[in-house]
């Protein structure tokens, strides 16, 4: 698979703070790549470096497997932190500046403004916009000229629930068109709902990188309950093929040994004459994984 972005051993220090620590990641073409981490984990710094606004302190990166140049950035649409526009210019004029820099035709402005529902307000000055509208204008600006890659840094920050839902739908919709998306977020839910791949950052270091579904499948928890909890507990203790067992009220939360399925467990319990009232596999949410990773 072709890589859109390759980062090798990237490093950045701000005085004593090690913002990015020896980070290497690769973003495949067509993927929705999530960069997940709490505030201050180096997400924005990393994106700042690959977008040319922050100087790197070591390591390298490459877009489209080409040497770095401003031409590469013209093939990318990006929102970094907050929407950045000239407040005293209208939405239309702001986008004209963007179009000039990206060397794309003004004809595309109408399309992108209609996507984000701002065409009616095209002549209003940027400073008169509400935060949600500013954010939407930033998305319009990123979409201008049909970029091959879109970078969203905390795209739903400060939006109301309806705005958040709209932005997420839009991202999923863009991804369906085959455009690669890099999404930085501190919200696990957001990454879980939209991304195909994820890297988890903590204090500038990579904790984990892989497919979101792989992260979800790392270890599943099985919930079992029966009318007679005591007998069930004895039977489970005798089963032996359980890594970990926790009692949660009437339910038992189990982590099964490798190769053991819920069918094996159920067959064993039926043999023992125990009828379960509840048996389900709970996929560990990314959030739990994430918190677990952070607590290590």
């Amino acid at each position: 698979m072709e890589n859109v972005l390759t980062i090798s051993n990237l490093d950045k220090r701000y005085g004593k703070i090690h913002a990015v620590n020896n980070l290497s990641i690769a973003v495949e073409k067509g993927s929705v790549y999530g960069i997940l981490g709490p505030n201050g984990s180096g997400k924005t710094t990393t994106l700042g470096i690959v977008l040319g606004v922050v100087n790197s302190g070591g390591g390298s990166f490459s877009w489209f497997n080409e040497p770095n140049s401003k031409q590469n950035r013209k093939r990318i649409g990006a929102i970094l932190e907050q929407p950045l526009f000239y407040p005293y210019l209208s939405a239309l004029n702001n986008l004209k500046i963007v179009a000039d820099i990206k060397q794309v035709s003004y004809d595309d402005i109408e399309r992108v403004l209609k996507i984000v529902d701002l065409w009616e307000r095209k002549d209003s000055k940027f400073k008169t916009f509400s935060y949600g509208m500013k954010q939407r204008l930033a998305i319009a600006s990123a979409l201008l000229g049909n970029p091959e890659v879109l970078i969203f840094d905390e795209p739903t920050n400060g939006l109301d629930p309806r705005g958040i839902a709209e932005i997420r739908e839009l991202i999923i919709d863009i991804a369906r068109q085959g455009i690669t998306i890099i999404l930085a977020s501190h919200l696990l839910d957001e990454v879980q709902k939209t991304c195909s791949h994820v890297v988890v950052l903590h204090k500038g270091e990579k904790l984990f990188e892989g497919k979101v579904e792989d992260v979800l499948n790392l270890s599943n928890t099985v919930e079992v309950a029966s009318n007679n909890a005591q007998i069930l507990e004895i039977a489970l203790n005798e089963f032996g093929k359980i890594n970990e067992m926790k009692r949660n009220g009437e339910q038992f939360l189990l982590s099964l040994s490798e190769g053991i399925t819920t069918t094996d467990l159920n067959t064993y319990l039926i043999d023992k004459g125990i009828i379960v009232s509840h048996l389900s596999v709970r996929k560990k949410s990314l959030e739990e994984q994430f918190l677990e990773l952070l607590s290590e």
């Binding site: 700042g48 606004v53 401003k70 970094l80 950045l84 963007v98």
Partner: protein
């Protein structure tokens, strides 16, 4: 801001002859002032005189400097410089854009000086043959160079300090400090301080009257623009551009 500059200039251009007339009438020696007016606004000396006034370092030129400082520091304040880079500008492109703005502003201001020179000259000058009207035009070119270099100096300050207020203060403090430096340093250094270097291009006004020397009044007024002064000025323009680029290149935006 540009409107303010134009208004200020217009007030001066149309106001000064009126002011002189007013003073002339009040003083009771109207003839002397009329002669003064005719001499100062006489072609071709008017070009040197008007360029001298327009390029005087504590005067109207500062308005242009303020325009550049605001233009550049707001890019940092609103982080639009960051947006420009993300969208595909290089840092050099950003600087080139600002230099273009400076050239435009310098051209605009030179054109205004030219037009006001024509107006003041034709309304007041005794001499008006073609050769006289368009003589000494090199002072307009000198003015253009001086203003461009000054604006590049302001651009450098704006990039260095980023904040509008701090840049203003630094700029005005430097305006005051340089004459003090000039005074403290050995005489030979005078022409090489940046603002001095710019001002030396058009050092003094000149009229045919001033050429009359007496024992009390024996001073050589500038007769031509010296190549050395132009070279020092251009060197400063290049230096401030290079420093600005260096700072931009190595800064996280």
């Amino acid at each position: 801001m540009i409107g303010f500059y134009a208004t200020l200039l217009a007030i001066m251009i149309f106001g000064i002859p009126g002011l002189i007339d007013y003073v002339a009438e009040k003083s009771g020696e109207a003839t002397q002032f009329r002669i003064f007016k005719a001499i100062v606004f006489n072609f071709p000396d008017i070009w040197q005189n008007i360029a001298f006034v327009a390029s005087f370092r504590f005067f109207i030129k500062i308005v242009l400097g303020i325009i550049i400082i605001i233009l550049v520091t707001t890019e940092f304040h609103f982080l639009t410089i960051r947006a420009n880079i993300i969208n595909g500008f290089s840092r050099g492109d950003f600087l080139a854009g600002k230099l273009m703005m400076i050239i435009l502003l310098a051209v605009f201001s030179t054109v205004i000086i030219f037009l006001s020179g024509l107006y003041l000259g034709f309304t007041n000058s005794v001499a008006s043959s073609m050769g006289q009207v368009f003589g000494k035009m090199e002072y307009l070119a000198g003015y253009f160079l001086e203003v461009s270099t000054y604006l590049i100096f302001c651009l450098f300050f704006a990039i260095l300090f980023k904040k509008t207020g701090i840049t203003f203060i630094a700029h005005f403090v430097y305006l005051i400090i340089e004459p003090i430096l000039d005074y403290k340093l050995p005489d030979g250094f005078d022409p090489y301080l940046p603002l001095n270097a710019m001002n030396r291009i058009i050092q003094s006004p000149n009229t045919s009257l001033i050429k009359v020397k007496t024992d009390e009044f024996n001073f050589d007024f500038q007769e031509f623009i010296a190549f050395q002064d132009v070279a020092v000025c251009v060197a400063y323009a290049v230096l401030f551009t290079a420093l600005s680029y260096f700072i931009l290149k190595h800064r996280d935006l």
